[in-house]
Amino acid sequence: MGKIYNSAAEALDGLLFDGMLIAAGGFGLCGIPENLISAIKDAGTKDLTVASNNAGVDNFGLGVLLQTRQVKKMISSYVGENDEFMRQYLSGELELEFNPQGTLAERMRAAGCGIPGFYTKTGVGTVIAEGKEVKNFNGQDYILEEGIFADLSIVKAWKADDTGNLVFRKTARNFNPPAAMCGKVCVVEVEEIVPRGSIDPDHIHLPGIYVHRIIQGEHEKRIEQRTVRQREEA
């Protein structure tokens, strides 16, 4: 019956193996593939390398895979909200490769677009440049960054049709499209599966060609920093 699966466990069946590289969408706890992360926890897959901008919080998002020690290495730009992460990192149990956020996003997009390397001035003259090739274009130095080719992409979207055409919602789009592009296989969880043809083809954010398996999931959508303003008196 095509790309739609009944559960996260079913959608991941046959795709997980120890030591694999997973690219995950999401920014902070916004637009993260909650259900797929949970199913990977249940599957117990070990020695994972996870490319994701953040590492979740202690008991939510990718944090749950850190608690179970399933992650060997993170490729991230910012991991400040996760105490367990820090503990494992400082004790040497967890490898960490910091990437500038835009470099991380572009490395994912590049791999998905068949580009094994590109030059950027981000990080020139910093620790990020160490060991990387430097090339001069028009008098300015740039460093070579390589594509992240993942074994699996796990992604959260708002809506999908059964061919995998995806629509994201507001800033929950974030890393999901580039993460989806860079995996050999891409599994997506959505809030709603809609009939084919019900999404205007000009409103599709990511065409179904990038999407191999889809589940409809329940989403807690936790808020990390609830900030509000006061209503002015009428």
């Binding site: 500038p100 956020q101 910093t126 499209p177 808020i223």
Partner: protein
């Protein structure tokens, strides 16, 4: 007297020109939004949004609508959403006119350190390295000296760099400084601050 946080933010807001697309860092830079007045400024949130609005009213928070500090925010009539690769494409590509950022140290050659203290907890650079490498103008807002009274305007940075030769202007509680050939040029002093105070709290070479 030296400027307080809000006065520094107000001074920084004067740097912004009508029609600019701007990225504001976390902390004091966030306050700059309160002082743009009538100017047509569009704020970028690097997690994938142009046209960032204020915090939502209580009860109207949307978990799908946050800024780069993971705070709930709102959209405006000019808002556009996009993915992270596109977002940093516009940053790296120089489409953002200015970024206003906090800093731990700035050197007189424009080197910036604001992401890592060796031996302390390292949280990551997030989008800071991309921003300072890519945007049109990098404006730093920070206290002139650290809590020990040591200058944060240095001859050379001691901390790992966020970017090399990237800072254009520094706004501290004592005044405004430009990175120029040979050192930092004192552009403006906060009301009531004396040149002697600035000299005594500045390690970097001051010009003018």
């Amino acid at each position: 007297m030296a400027w307080d946080r809000n006065q520094m933010a107000e001074r920084a807001a004067q740097e912004l020109q009508d029609g600019w697309y701007v990225n504001l860092g976390i902390g004091i830079p966030t306050l700059v939004a309160n002082y743009v007045g009538d100017k047509d400024i569009t704020l970028q949130s690097e997690n994938g949004m142009l046209g960032m609005g204020p915090f939502p009213f209580e009860g109207e928070e949307d978990p799908d609508l946050i800024n780069a500090g993971k705070q709930t925010i709102t959209e405006l009539s000019r808002t556009a959403y996009f993915d992270s690769a596109t977002s940093f494409g516009m940053i790296r590509g120089g489409k953002i006119a200015a970024a206003i950022l906090g800093a731990m140290e700035v050197a007189e050659n424009g080197d910036l350190a604001n992401w890592m203290i060796p031996g302390k907890l390292v949280k990551g650079m997030g989008g800071a390295m991309d921003l300072v490498a890519g945007v049109g103008k990098v404006i730093v807002i920070m206290d002139h000296a650290n809590k020990k009274g040591e200058s944060k305007l240095l001859k050379e940075c001691t901390l790992p760099l966020t970017g090399k030769g990237v800072v254009d202007r520094i706004i501290t509680n004592l005044g405004v400084f430009d990175v120029v050939e040979g050192g930092l040029k004192l552009v403006e002093m906060a009301d009531g601050v004396t040149r002697e105070e600035i000299d005594s709290l500045t390690e970097a070479t001051l010009i003018n």
